[in-house]
């Protein structure tokens, strides 16, 4: 067969030397390696009490943002759903009524906004597609659950808490 890479190493099979056949030098070498690990810093994190920090570009659960006045930024343009390669996002747009001016930023808003967390591949394209800076994948890991229907996250789980409640 044609070699797939140029990295080719010819395996040499010499008979074992006396030192190798005696096992003991090799064993001593192995013991030296393990004892050096005895004094190394352990990599363990005591999980429930201490949590490992995510890297800065970690993509976790989505959140729908609010603007400075506490209004939802999302205008239901549908670009996030369009850009989503896994087709995880569904939304239904609605028109804002005059008395809802302090709830939504523009005339159109998403009355239903759902992300299927089982389909989502956390690629971050929705984040990039959004012209209103309304969706970010800055949350924690999506928690586990028992039923498939519980993984369809609606606005109740996605929208940021109102400013005054913080």
């Amino acid at each position: 067969m044609e070699p797939l890479t140029s990295k080719k190493k010819v395996l040499e099979q010499k008979p074992l030397t006396l030192a190798e056949r005696m096992y003991l030098p090799a064993i001593a070498k192995g013991m030296a390696i393990t004892i050096s690990h005895f004094f190394k810093k352990e990599a363990t994190i005591r999980y429930p009490e201490v949590e490992r920090e995510f890297s800065t570009n970690f993509r976790g659960m989505h959140s729908l943002k609010r603007d400075e006045e506490g209004r939802e930024r999302c205008t239901a343009c549908g670009l996030c759903a369009l850009s989503c390669p896994a087709e995880a996002i569904t939304m239904i747009a609605a028109e804002r009524k005059p008395e809802e001016k302090d709830l939504y930023r523009e005339e159109k808003y998403a009355s239903v906004y759902e992300i299927n967390m089982l389909r989502c591949i956390f690629c971050g394209l929705c984040e990039e597609a959004c012209p209103k800076e309304a969706i970010y994948l800055d949350g924690p890991i999506v928690p586990s659950d028992y039923l498939r229907k519980d993984f369809i996250y609606g606005k109740d789980k996605l929208v940021e808490q109102p400013l005054n409640k913080k």
Binding site: L24, I27, G30, M31, I33, T34, I35, H37, F38, K40, K41, E42, A43, T44, R46
Partner: protein, 345 residues
């Protein structure tokens, strides 16, 4: 035989029994901690500070578990197996000299339960009985895999017993006594037998690993090949006894190795310490030194276990019969010739 003598021996037996159980208990904890540290982990740290209550938690868990006796097992033998393993593990401590004689008031108390003149042979006898626990357990389970594993354990123990006995003969040529007490006293100060018998020590140590069924010779426990080994059918504290017996065995063989080759309770500068501390505290200090040696050996057992992979069965037999036994015989011959030359025939 006065009553004080009986009380003195009784107290000594109780103390040694308690200590060996305690050490075995904390060996299980130490094993997990050492394994963790060698693998850059933390090990048990939930039960109590640093997890030091872990052995208690394990013990409670073992007792609380459901106890199952297989339907077609030989019920009586099934129960005797673990008990026998524990018994043979425990009685080995009787002849080990824990320290030189201690003087309290006008009484001199030897820190050894009994100083029989064939101490080494007694240890060997007891250690080789240990295989009965494994063998009976494997047989009584009425499980083919357990039986296969038990047979492997028996053949392994018998093979390595020979090399171990031969390695001791060279030591006996040097010391001229079979009493453990005399062997220890012959190593006064720093004249430890390891200096005269390095090859013998290596053979003895390898055989001790095989006798205690510790890695790399832990073939009786063979999760990958025979499910769990000889204790596949055991549950609850019966399994606990088997595992616990292994740790007591480890303690005893660490003590025997320290006694035979590393001077027991002797340490360099012990004469000046004896003057400094007096006849009551100096022997106890020696005992402390002895226990330090034992702990070093126990640590060594664990260190090896978490470094070296398990032997294959045919490799194990090759090493035992074709390497260790001839090497031990050569060691006897060389030792004999050297002694003859020194003493001028």
């Amino acid at each position: 035989m006065d009553i004080a003598f009986v009380i003195e021996k009784f107290v000594l037996v109780a103390i040694i029994f308690g200590i060996s159980l305690l050490i075995a208990m904390y060996s299980t904890y130490a094993e997990r901690k050492v394994a963790a540290f060698l693998q850059d982990r933390l090990g048990p740290d939930r039960a109590g500070p640093f997890g030091i209550l872990q052995p208690l938690a394990d013990g409670v868990k073992m007792f609380m578990k459901e106890e199952i006796v297989p339907t077609n097992a030989s019920k009586w033998l099934f129960m005797v197996g673990p008990g026998l393993a524990m018994l043979t593990a425990c009685i080995g401590t009787a002849v080990i000299p824990w320290g030189s004689a201690i003087t309290i008031g006008d009484r001199t108390i030897p820190l050894q339960v009994t100083d029989i003149n064939v101490g080494i042979l007694y240890i060997f006898g007891v250690v080789s009985l240990g295989v009965y626990g494994v063998m009976i357990g494997g047989w009584a389970s009425n499980n083919k895999y357990s039986l296969l594993s038990a047979i492997r354990a028996a053949s392994q123990n018998i093979s390595y017993e020979i090399a171990m006995g031969l390695s001791i003969i060279a030591l006996l040529l040097v010391t001229g006594s079979m009493s453990l007490k005399e062997i220890v006293e012959g190593q006064h100060g720093w004249h430890w037998n390891i200096l005269y018998q390095p090859v013998g020590f290596i053979i003895f140590m390898v055989c001790a690993f095989a006798e205690t069924n510790r890695a790399p010779f832990d073939l009786p426990e063979c999760e990958t090949e025979l499910i769990g080994g000889y204790h596949t059918e055991y549950s609850s504290m019966k399994l606990g006894f088997y595992l616990f017996a292994e740790y007591i065995n480890m303690f005893v063989s660490a003590a025997v190795m320290a006694t035979l080759y590393f001077g027991g309770y002797n340490y360099p500068g012990m004469d000046s310490m004896a003057v400094l501390l007096g006849p009551t505290w100096a022997p106890l200090f020696g005992t402390a030194v002895f226990f330090v040696k034992i702990f070093v050996f126990i640590f060594f057992f664990m260190w090896v276990r978490w470094t070296i992979p398990r032997f294959r069965y045919d490799q194990l037999m090759n090493l035992g019969w074709k390497v260790l036994i001839p090497l031990a015989i050569a060691n006897i011959v060389v030792t004999g010739v050297v002694i003859a030359l020194i003493e001028g025939f």
